[in-house]
């Protein structure tokens, strides 16, 4: 027999380094062929920052994401952009890239304005073309423009960008601080099915809403949410690293259980995209905020389904079934005085 239930949880998360100044710097060059070279601490760990930065740069520089060349993250070759974590990459490095590109474009438009004899503000660049507003003749490709500036004018367009996020440290006595400039709020609902024969919990659906600020690439944001929620399912139901007197009893994937394709819920997400007012791009982040509400939403859904409150993660089948049995005994007192097995 199976029972279903639903649970809800809210969450919030701060963006970038906690209670400490955060920084990221970038160099930008408009290069041959109308391509763009960006040097910064690109720390692609799978979340998609590489593509996101290329989109941002392409947008700012009037080219396409394929035209962007991002230098390797190398302490001897690029300026510092600090670490890959704290949901800081799009926020810190994205903004720094935008700022660096804007400086480069400012110089580019000034140089093109000199060349065409027009106000730089009337110059636009998009999709590999640069042109003057309302002029049928004053336009060329970004490739031609770069070539002309370099060859005829000796101008190489370079820019640099710095983005700083001002956070204050915690007061040691009462924690007073401005730990972050920006926060991401969220809420998730989970629907589960509990098998009363085995205590197994299957998560059938998770719905998520997060306020992520302006979205650079919705496919990537979804990817983070989907990955974070499935990681949350693992935390809620199956993952536990154990040691006995310091010896590791879960030294590999046979004992340390991760979710497979057969364990995942259908995931639906809605993104609230009100731009963050404190940054040039209006972006925030999603990598970590998406994982905090999942486990409690599942645990609350288990309670809703079978009246068993799991207070210790993970909610393994053993714990859930023990809870179900305990309830049964409370309702129909039986003679046997058995001890429960608490999870090992």
């Amino acid at each position: 027999m199976k029972k279903r239930g639903r649970g809800v949880a809210c969450g919030w998360y701060g963006i970038a380094r906690t209670a400490a100044m955060d920084r990221a710097a970038v160099w930008v060059e408009l290069d041959d062929g109308g391509t763009v070279k960006i040097a910064t601490g690109v720390t692609e760990i799978g979340e998609g920052i590489l593509t996101g930065l290329c989109q941002i740069a392409a947008h700012e520089m009037g080219v396409r994401p394929d035209d962007i060349v991002l230098a390797d993250n190398d302490t001897a070759r690029v300026p510092e952009a600090a670490h890959a974590g704290a949901t800081r990459m799009t926020y810190m490095i994205g903004n720094a890239v935008a700022i660096g590109c804007r400086e480069a474009m400012f110089k580019f438009k000034k140089a093109m304005g000199d060349y065409w004899g027009v106000d730089p503000n009337s110059i636009h660049a998009e999709n590999r073309e640069v042109w003057v507003e309302n002029s049928p003749t004053m336009k060329m490709s970004m490739a031609e423009a770069t070539h002309h500036l370099k060859k005829d004018k000796g101008i190489v367009i370079v820019g640099s960008g710095l983005f700083t996020s001002a956070h204050t440290p915690l007061n040691p006595d009462n924690g007073e601080a401005t730990p972050w400039q920006s926060y991401v709020f969220g809420a998730q609902i989970a629907e589960v099915e509990v098998d009363l024969d085995t205590g197994e919990v299957q998560v059938l659906g998770v719905w998520a809403a997060h306020d992520v600020g302006k979205v650079v690439n919705p496919q990537q944001v979804e990817g983070q949410i989907e990955g974070g929620i499935v990681m949350g399912v693992g935390h809620a139901l199956m993952e536990e690293y154990t040691q006995h007197q310091g010896q590791v009893t879960t030294p590999g994937f046979a004992k340390y259980i991760l979710p497979t394709t057969l364990d995942i819920p259908n995931i639906h997400s809605v993104l609230l995209t009100e731009p963050d007012p404190k940054t040039p791009l209006g972006v925030k982040g999603i990598g970590e905020p998406c994982i905090t509400p999942t486990a409690p939403a599942i645990i609350n859904a288990i309670y809703d389904a079978v009246g068993v409150r799991i207070t210790s993660l993970p909610a393994t089948p053993e714990k859930v079934l023990a809870g179900i049995l305990k309830q049964k005994r409370v309702i129909k007192p039986k003679v046997e005085q058995e001890e429960f097995v608490t999870a090992e």
């Binding site: 279903r4 799978g46 890959a84 006595d173 629907e191 059938l204 935390h235 536990e240 030294p251 990598g287």
Partner: protein, 637 residues
Amino acid sequence: MSKLHSSMSDKKIGEHPLVEITATVNGRMVSRSVPNHYRLIDFVREELHLTGNKEGCGAGECGTCSMFVDGVLVKSCLMPVQKIMNATVETVDDLDRDAGRTVLQQAFHKCGSSQCGYCIPGMVMAATSLLRKMPNPDREQIKEGLGGNICRCTGYQKIIDAVELARDVINKKIPDSSLEENLLEPVMGARTPRLDAPGKVTGSVKYAADMVLPNMLHMSVLRSPHAYAKIVSIDASAALVIPGVEVVLTSADVPGIDNFGVFIEDQPIMARDYVRYTGEAVAAVAAETLDLAIAATKLIKVEYEVLDGVFDPHLAIKDGAPQLHDFAKNNITKHTKIRKGDVEEGFKQADLIVEETYQTAKIEHAYLEPEAGLAYVESDGCVTVHSPSQNITHHRHALAKILGRPINKVRMIMSTVGGGFGGKEDMIYQGMLALAAIKSRRPVRYVFTREESFIASAKRHPFSIQYKMGLKKNGKIVATKMVMISDGGAYAMSTPGVMNKSAILGPGPYQLENVWVDAIGVYTNNTPSGAMRAFGAFQSEFATEAHLDLCAEKLKMDPIQLRMMNLMRDGATTHTRQKIDRVLAVDCLNAVVDLAGWDQGAPNRHGSGKESRKDIGQSGIRQSCTLGTHLKQGEKV
């Protein structure tokens, strides 16, 4: 720990009998002589340098090594190389037969299926196998076909979407153009397919373990079998005399100030005087072959004086517990406090006080790429470490100090990372690599086994949270008190940051006048706890959200109503007394309710005899998984 047959004493240390293997790999005949203990994955990666498929675990659990042998998909880490004699092998490296990318690979690219990319070659192989056997699988069949491949980044959705897309293109249900990028979209806000996807779906991008340099040595590390012990002596003489063993390192070889740490620099690159957790590095060997390095490591004699360790933070914090670090009284790494208003006064005002204790588990990051790195010294004397480090800036600082070098004579390059989640922020092996490269004057590579990665690298902090909440009858929270104790393990790693974050965010996005939080991170002789995705906040917010549900039940209130009563609004003051102008907490809650639907009422109301919920079982959820439903339809798998 190896059981040696008597004939082994005739052989040289670290040498293994060779076996001659002839096979056809990716359409090309090969004939090679390799150590007879090689598995197919070793043959493909180390001998043929086809590095697309990976060894994520070596135990058949993760699927990164999946490849075809005589047309059948197998886990190559479980196949002794002798089994491929005269067989045909197909790896991910040439799946497209030089024609660009297969339809499936293009679909993976289009759908955004690759994130870190480490599982993707195996996934592509598993999906290829599935579509070859079953050209028209439904979504459930696709899931079962991929059930032996683990992904830690994507949550699988977009991988499954890609297989469906490929299926439909191959079966001509939709046109080929469905695989193309929509170039008409404006760039900002576009679903631009990942620019690094082509390298990932073909397995051509190189991760650290895929890299080789000429004249490269291989590293093996001797790790402590004890959780807590004094190192009395280390005798590496038996290892050093073996030809081909170039370097043996211990902490005695470290020239500079030997400690690193994201917040507190308390960890040496190899154990110094004491080992404080099982798996801590004690010595490192760099040798001509990996087999030699592993054999040499076993010849290093370490004398330990085993000490009584402490494994429970509640005990470690007491007087009389072993003091694990001189500077940390009562083994307290970090105690973060939040004090706002007056909780005791708040509890007096409460109509209902609810107390409960919550526990979260110690969690493994389980990135599919085990740690690995390559170090070398350049001609100008700059030592370079190429590794999947999440913080090369910080690591360069630490390494320069540890090696006693100017900072611009140390170079850290970040290789493509096969998943991080915070677990690759600590500099737990780059120091040994750099030192070995300096001492040997040759490039050195180190690749962790999955088990090494488990026992030696950071884990998510487990938390024990005592929760006390006071509420009014209408659901308004009048006091929140959270006392949290966490096992920080043997070294600090990110413990101070985790305590801070857990305390600042723990009480949740709620407008609270009276808040008391203690977050106490404690040293123990367990595996160190460090940064992991949403560090501290995952644990403390879990407790808050579970506790609110408990309170909702006791108040017979709908849990969403309870939250609405308390969520922050614009202009809210946080628990650290920061004013936030714009707060979208209520908007998010409303949005998810609109998306999912929600039948109002207290939790588990049908348990107390009331009507069942009406929002269950609607479209949008998946079916309950029952394996093998296809069997009843008589389909071949």
